[in-house]
């Protein structure tokens, strides 16, 4: 008895991962790896702020929408990582800035309301999804 491959695919009900190997390797080496730059920026903010804000990236979704901009696949993960690092760096810098002390107090007040904080990385234009 033979199975139609499509039928088998529907049965397993697992979305196909379209990310090329390079992207997956970069996520492993330049994002998930403890040596990745992002982890030191997260730690640095935590030290200043007292709260850890954990970034969550939907890599497959993100890559699906942005793939055309990254013909050179090797630049995708570093570029996204750089933007996420920028979030942590700017927030850290802001907390140390006397001029925004009032804002910092407000932020601390809000953050105290929850024990767990995340940074959700999303794509703006979801109509690009196919």
């Amino acid at each position: 008895m033979s199975y139609n491959p499509l039928f088998i695919h529907l049965c397993t009900y697992k979305p196909i991962d379209h990310r090329p190997l390079k992207i997956r390797a970069d996520i492993r080496d330049k994002w998930d790896s403890p040596k990745a730059e992002i982890h030191s920026t997260i730690a640095s903010l935590k030290q200043t702020l007292g709260y850890k804000i954990v970034p969550q990236v939907q890599w497959p979704l993100l890559y699906n929408v942005l793939r055309e901009q990254y013909a050179d696949k090797g630049t995708f993960v570093p570029a996204i990582s750089r933007v996420v690092e920028a979030f942590y760096e700017r927030l850290s810098a802001r907390l140390e800035n006397e001029a925004t002390a009032e804002w910092t107090d407000q932020l601390l007040g809000e953050l105290a309301k929850k024990s767990k904080w995340i940074l959700e990385i999303e794509v703006r234009n979801t109509t690009y999804l196919q």
């Binding site: 901009q69 933007v83 700017r90």
Partner: protein, 181 residues
């Protein structure tokens, strides 16, 4: 830096944006589907943090006198400044506080593919005509066009392809530019 030369792409909408929902315990970082410009990212984030709670920029930053503050003030200018269609000299606001990391830059053969203006070199001194270009789709279009319209003169023993009457352009030979860089 390179992408900032693009005439299109108002940076007010094309930059990543930070929002916040305290009830969800989450910050949101929206990545635009247009190319990222790291210099805009940094000053834009400052604006977003300003508006995080209030929905409008706070005035406290205007007393600050660091680079960050200069960026913030500049980028609060009306959008018409940033959407100008012509090339502009770099302004103070476009001086990048941070350069892109090496790994975020494409390899040399890819680096200029996505940016305008494209390079097109036509060597008409010899036959066949040689055209080198940095934008492959344009070259493909050009090749298809020439192929469509070039006619072989059956009376000419050299079988040179011509356009209209007696112009002697040969069908162009298309070259990828990959050896230029």
């Amino acid at each position: 830096m390179i992408h900032s030369l693009k005439p299109s792409g108002p940076n007010s909408t094309g930059r990543p944006k930070i929002t916040w929902k305290g009830a969800n315990g989450a910050f949101y970082l929206e990545i635009p589907s247009s190319p990222l410009v790291i210099a805009n990212v940094l000053s834009g984030f400052d604006q977003d943090f300003d508006c995080l709670f209030s929905g409008s920029p706070s005035s406290s930053l205007e007393n600050d006198d660091g680079w960050a503050e200069v960026n913030v003030v500049e980028t609060r200018a009306p959008p018409s400044v940033s959407t100008s269609g012509s090339f502009q000299p770099p302004q103070a606001a476009s001086i990048p506080g941070k350069l892109p990391v090496v790994d975020a830059l494409s390899r040399p053969t890819e680096l200029f593919k996505a940016t305008t203006p494209y390079v097109l070199m036509v060597d008409a001194s010899s036959l066949p005509l040689n055209i080198h270009g940095s934008h492959e789709p344009s070259l493909q279009l050009l090749a298809s066009y020439l192929k469509k319209w070039a006619k072989t003169n059956s009376n000419d023993s050299l079988k040179v392809r011509t356009f209209l009457s007696d112009e002697t352009h040969d069908l162009t030979r298309k070259h990828d530019n990959s050896d230029l860089y």
